[in-house]
Every structure is written in C-alpha cells, then in structure tokens.
C-alpha cells in the first residue's frame, strides 16, 4: 500500500471548530451538515484553500439521520473547497474524530494522499427520531406485498397509537440497557472515586478553559458562529462549593456523578488539517506538530467485568510499548473528560499493580502522571462534548500547545461507547 519510497511524517497544520453549544440552545435548529460545513469552511478560509482539491475529507457523526448517508461529502459541497475533493463518513462513537484523523494520517504517511481534513460533528438537538418500529415493519410488509389484498392486510396492522410512540435515540448501551452515566457510576464505585475528586477535576476544567479563552489561546482554532464566541457550557465562575451541593443523577441514592462532573449533551463540529511536510512547505504553512501514532482498543464490558469506558487504559500502554515510551514521557496529557470519574478511574488503573498485572498483562504499572500537565487548557467537562467533534478539538488544540512550547510530546486518550478507546501521540 506504500505509494512513495518511504513512510512520511504527518503534519498537523491547524484546526477549526465552532463554539460548542449545550443541547437545544444556540444551534437547536441546525443540522449536522450545517455545522460540519461551517467548521470546514472556517478551515478553508483560514488556510486559503478556496478551490483547492484535497486528497480527502473524512468526518462523521454519532447521531445521524438516514438522509445523511453522505454527510461529509455533502458538507464539502457546501464549502468553497474544490468540489472535486472526495469525502467519506466514519463512525466510531466518541472516538470518531480521532479515529478519522488516524485514517487520514495513515494515507498521508503511505503517500496515497498529500493532504486531508479529518473531523466530526454531532447534534443532540436535531436527533433522528424514527418511526415506531412496528409501524415501520408494517409499512415494509405492505411494500413487499404483491397484491392489493396483501398490501392492505399488512397495513391493517397499523394502530393509531404507533404514530405517537416514535423510536427515540437513547444515550444507552444496546447490550446492557444502561446509560453511559450509569456505566461510569459503576466504574467510579469499582475504583472508589469520590465526588470531591470528580468535582475538583471539573472546576479545574472550567477554570483552565476560561483562562485559555481570556488569553486568546483558541483565537485561531475557534470561529464565531451563530452569535457564540465561546462554548456556552463554560462557567468561568464555577466553584467547588456550588457544584459539591449538586445531587447525583445516575444513581440518586449512592452515586457520585452529577450534572456538573459529567459532560452535558452538546452540539458542535471540529476539523483538523493534516498534510505531508512537502505539501505544507509548498503551501508555505508552518507545521504545528506531528501525529506520530494512534491505537484503538476495546474491552468486554458485557460478559467480562470490565468498565465500559476503560478501553483507553488498555490502548495507551499498548501504544507506549510500540513507541518505546513511558507514560511519564509527555509534556501534555489530553484525556477526554466524558465524566470526571472516567479520567480518574483511568489514572488510578495505571497505578494499580494488581489490575495492571491481571488485566493489562504488564509487569510494572505505567504509573502516575504529573497532574499539572493534564488538560491544561480545559477539557470536555467545560467545553462540552459533541461526540464525534471532540477528537478534532483535542488534536488541533494539543498540536498548537506543542508548537507554542517549541517542541514536546502530548498524549490523547478518548473513551467511546461500545467499550472502545482511541488514543494517539502528537509530538514535535
């Protein structure tokens, strides 16, 4: 599959995202395509890519309408990129954004393409509401009927009540029926993570994000959109006092996960521009950092007793072993805060000798990280988390941080539904 004499480094040149908005607020009437198009157009405007034919654009959404079969390609056609740019959709739950970047990067590394855009979008305000399943089946049967009588017989199964009981998308695991929050609540109990620690991480997330905005850190990463100039989930005046009084939402009796220390449903889109070094040079665009490698893992949370969101705990040590790095060899740790508890469980797992030996099959635990390097410009708890958009947000933001530092290395870790986890290393 190698299309050039040797493998090439993959440069991250920049990113573009719209401010993230809590569900049913600023973007309530927008579609995934509206938001993804805006994010891509922002990137095109920023890097002067009008009329350019890129190798490919890959993006995706977790919640999609049936009509969005070609969401990314349709979005490309709504921008001023050359309409000769091919595109495809990817879907790997919350890992979508980062997985997409890994796919595009692989093609660049292999020389199949020189430049591409990767990213994702999601809306829970414009979620696909499907027909009632029995209603839908009756319609399909009628469609299959060869005679009028057969068609009528099939349609006679339709009851008025079906119209009022549509099939709603659920934020729940198909196989366990538990919501993601309920799963994470189980993890928090298994790892004995208290609410206070979760709340402290939440406060840090909001404070870090607010201060990053105040410094203008995101000025070349975020584009104003629909009247928003910052993520509207951000609470700069958050305090431990205020959120520690909040009641648990997933286990009302004995739980520790609250609305503050869990990410809210969010709408938004984020994309990243990836290219070979030659392409970047030819277009006179500076390289922020390089996407060195990625890894994806999955855990058996159904039959096994592993936590739903623990896959990154497996993916990271596997990736580090291949890259010949230790967990402490990083200047920045970008761990997606699906829930504060998810981050804390993962960190604790890496320090637990028994767990590491029995589950990760490693002799020595990866160990602790320097917490001062964790999500230094805020995380998903403050920013919000439009599922497929999070990977693009983190990747571009981390590349810029490394560029500002002059050199360095950053770790990305993103947990995803279905017991999956996508992780990557960015460095310069």
């Amino acid at each position: 599959m190698l299309s050039v004499p040797t493998l090439r480094r993959v440069a991250i040149l920049g990113g573009s995202r719209i401010p993230f908005a809590r569900s049913n607020t600023a973007y309530a009437d927008l579609s995934n395509q509206d938001m993804l198009s805006a994010a891509i157009q922002g990137l095109v405007d920023r890097f002067g890519l009008h009329g350019e034919r890129l190798g490919e654009v890959a993006a995706g959404a977790v919640l999609k309408h049936a009509r969005d079969i070609n969401l990314t390609r349709e979005s490309v056609l709504s921008t001023t990129l050359s309409h000769d740019t091919p595109a495809y959709d990817v879907q790997q739950a919350c890992g979508t954004g980062l997985e997409t970047a890994i796919l595009v990067a692989n093609k660049i590394a292999l020389g199949q393409i020189d430049v591409g855009i990767a990213g994702g979008v999601d809306t829970t305000s414009d979620a696909p509401v499907a027909l009632n399943e029995q209603f839908r089946k009756a319609l399909m049967r009628a469609n299959r009927g060869r005679t009028t009588i057969a068609k009528l017989r099939a349609l006679s199964a339709i009851r008025p009540g079906m119209v009022f009981k549509p099939e709603l998308p659920r934020n729940a695991e198909v196989r366990t029926g538990l919501s993601m929050g309920a799963h994470c609540e189980l993890m928090a109990k298994r790892w004995n993570i208290g609410q206070q620690d979760q709340d402290a991480l939440t406060v840090a997330s909001h404070r870090n994000l607010a201060s990053a905005y105040d410094r203008g850190q995101f000025n070349d990463l975020v584009i104003p959109f629909r009247g928003l100039t910052r993520d509207n989930n951000l609470r700069p005046d958050i305090s431990l006092d205020k959120i520690s009084k909040m009641k648990p939402v997933f286990d009302r009796q004995h739980g520790t996960l609250t609305a503050a220390n869990s990410t809210p449903l969010t709408d938004g889109a984020a994309v990243v521009l990836l290219a070979s070094e030659e392409w970047a040079r030819a277009h006179d665009l500076p390289v922020l950092a390089y996407l060195r490698t990625g890894e994806t893992a999955a855990v058996d949370f159904v039959d096994g007793d592993e936590g739903l969101l623990m896959a990154p705990a497996f993916a990271v040590p596997r990736m580090l072993a291949k890259a010949g790095l230790a967990l402490q060899d990083f200047d920045f740790y970008e761990i997606h805060e699906a829930f504060a508890a998810q981050v804390l469980c993962t960190l604790k797992a890496w320090e637990d000798e028994t767990y590491v030996r029995e589950r990760l099959h490693l002799d020595t635990p990866p160990g602790a990280i320097d917490r001062a390097r964790l999500n230094v410009n805020g995380g998903s708890l403050a920013t919000g988390h439009p599922f497929a958009a999070t990977g693009g947000r983190i990747l571009a933001s981390l590349a810029k941080m490394i560029d500002q530092r002059g050199s360095g290395r950053g770790l990305i870790s993103i947990c995803a539904a279905g017991g999956q986890g996508v992780v990557a290393i960015v460095e310069k």
Partner: protein, 468 residues
Amino acid sequence: MRSADQYLSFTNSGFGKWVTGSLGLPQPVQLARRQAGKPDLRQPVLMGTGAGGRLTEPLAALFRSANLVSLYHSENDVWREAARRHEIMTARYTAETSGKVGALLFDATGIEDAIGLESLYRFFHETVRSVGTNGRIVVFGTTPEDAGSTEAAAIQRGLEGFTRSLGKELHRAIAVQLVYVRPGAEAAIESTTRFFLSSGAAYVSGQVVRIAKPVAKAVEYDPGKPQAGRTVLVTGASRGIGAAIADLFARDGAHVVALDIPPAAAELDAIAERLGGSALPLDITAPDAAEAILSDAKRRGGYDVVVHNAGITRDKTIAKMDAGRWDSVMDVNLFAPLRITEALLSGGGLRKNGRVVCVSSLSGIAGNMGQTNYALSKAGLIGAVQRLAPEAAKSGITINAVAPGFIETQMTAAIPFAIREAGRRMNAMSQGGLPIDVAEAIGWFASPGSGGVNGQTVRVCGQSLLGA
C-alpha cells in the same frame, strides 16, 4: 439607576409592547449600560474595509489587546489576513451562519472614488440587518480637508450624511458614529474605537469625531482603570450629572476633587467620603476662585483632568429677562470656566497629558425658547474649546466639550409633562439619557489614550432631532 421614564418601562413590558406596537407608538429599547462583571465591548465585530483603508493594523492591534472576536465581510481579504497575523478570532460573515453581531466597523479612510464607495454600500446593504439590539456601528473616514481630490473630499464629507441617516434608520438602541482620522494619526484611534464599541456610548449616536496626532506621547494605561493614579477636579459635583461624573472617575480609579458651592458642603463631604476623594467647597464666581483652585491644584501636584460641569438655568424670554438672570448665567456657565481654565493653563495647574472637559448643552447648538442666556453661555463654551485647543496642545493638554441633550435629572423632572415627553422622545433612541451617559463621554475625553481628540464637541443626546 431607576429611570423616571415610565413609558420606557411600559413599552418594555409584554402588554405595553403589544399596546404601543398596535398603536404605532414609539417603542424605545432599554439601553444597555456598563455593569461590573458584564462584557463591555460589543462583539463579534463585523469588519468591512474599503480599498486603501489605513486602519487595518491599528484596529487589529486593538482587537488583539482587547481579545475581541471579529467577522469579516466576504470581500474583505485584508482583514482575514490581518486577523491571522494578529491571532484574532475571526470567521467569514454570512447572514445564515453568523447570527447577530455586536457591531459593524467600516474603514472608509481610503475611499476616493465612486467604485470605492460601492464597497461601503454593499457592506451595509448586506450586513446591517444582522446588528443586534444595543449594537454599535462606527465608520472611519479621512478628514475631508486631507483628502487627495475634490471627489475624495466630497465622498469623505458625504459620510456624515450617511452615518447620520443610518442612525435614524436603525432602531433597537443601535448607536452610529463617524470617526475622521487624519493621516498619520492612525495609531491614536484606540480609545475612541473602544468607547464607541462600549456600553458607555449607549446614548451617544450620530456623532462625528476627528482624531489627530496625540498632543502628548502615548502612555500605557489599563483600559479597565484608565484614571488610576490621576487627580480629577469636578465642578458642580454635589448632585445630578456632576455627581455621576464624580462617581465615574472614582470607578475608573481617579482621586476625585469634588467642588460645589459652600451651601452644598454637606453633600459634597458625603460624596468625597464615599469616593475616597476630597471636597473643595467654593463659589466658582468668587473673585479669588480661580486662584484658590490653582493653589489646590498645585498642592496636589497638578490636576490631570478638570471637568467644568457647574451650571445654572435662569429661563425667561429675552424681553422678560432681567439683568440678574442674564448675568448669573453668564458668570457661572461661561466666564468662571474661562477664568479657571486660563489660570490652570498659564499657572501650570494641569499636568502633561491633562484634559479639560466642558459640559456644554444641546441648547447651545440648537437654541431653545427662553434660554437665550443659557444657550449663549453653552455655545460660548464650544467656541472656547475650539480656540483653546491648539494652545492647550502645546502643553500636551486637550480641551473638549460634551453637549448633553435630554438627560433625566431633577432639572428635567421639573419641566411640564407635555414638553418633557416631547423632549424625551425626539431622538433616535426615543428616550432621555441618564447622567451616567454624559459622564461616560467625559470619561472617554479624559482617558489617557484620548490625546488625539482635541477641540471637539460631542453630543450626548441619543441623536436628537434638534440641532445640526
């Protein structure tokens, strides 16, 4: 501050909005004024740049330092590039995706011909509907006398008609200004641009301001506390607009010297104590007043700002006016400020980068029945400002005037109902201003960054229909 304007409160209630809408009555919008902890500058700012605009760099520097978010009109590659260089958050404007914008800025300084002028038309034609309630619009032009040709001068002068008409077309408390920038004065636009984008300019609209090279070398200052470390004399500080001015300077970090007539000494002491300032009870018409003020100034190492706010009305039509009414108004409103300014300027009572601000009046511009005396005194201040400006500039000092229109004070509360209502509504904002609105404009003149604004009179009148 609670407004005395009950009609304004009524139209902003659900029922009142329906009633006044159905009857086709004016529907004033509650003006958004400065509030601690609330964002002050309107954003995102949608940028338009005419061909050859000179202000891209200084505006970009301001956007970066104030961390303002911008949008650019699709034709404006100049701003797109500048925003990238200066790391300003920006995006292409489209009516569908951008949402409401806080302000429109258009750099028309380089427009010299009909083709260039078309970009002004297109920009406003396509974007003006996107400006949100309490939004701001600023057009920058080149002083017509500095324009390169007759056509260019005509176009630049024509911008006055454009912005004034725009102010009257837009409702929803959108304020529109024209700022003429002399060639070479580009770096001096910051404080004025900030002010016109801010909540402080809520009741200032339809104004034309000229910016020249600053009278003194630029100094660093904190836009959040622009008067920190400065000493400010406010005359007539015990109540009304004067008290609001004193409050504002204290808010902005100044040491306030509050002056009023000795009978008001008790109120004055209270104000000085509340603001952590000093009280200076004296009658400015007394023969030795100028001398006394100068010695107070010297004792404090000089004033940085002097605000001539003290004023009285003694209304009568000229035929019925006795000499006492005439003389007292002249003395308090005109001659005392002249004497004090003269004494401070010649006696070294004002420090470098100092400011003198006179409170004139719309009466002085438009004239008002029964106010021949008052209008003369207030128009006289405008003349004094124009005459003194080049003199003061030599010492690094500016002198300017504000001309308030209908401001809600005890003085206007005493006007009979029908006349008061007319006065309130006859402006683009369909409401009276508050003392703080006048104070905010004075605060802008007095800012250490406003050295390029000299010899000007700016109205605080919600773009009143009266006067030029």
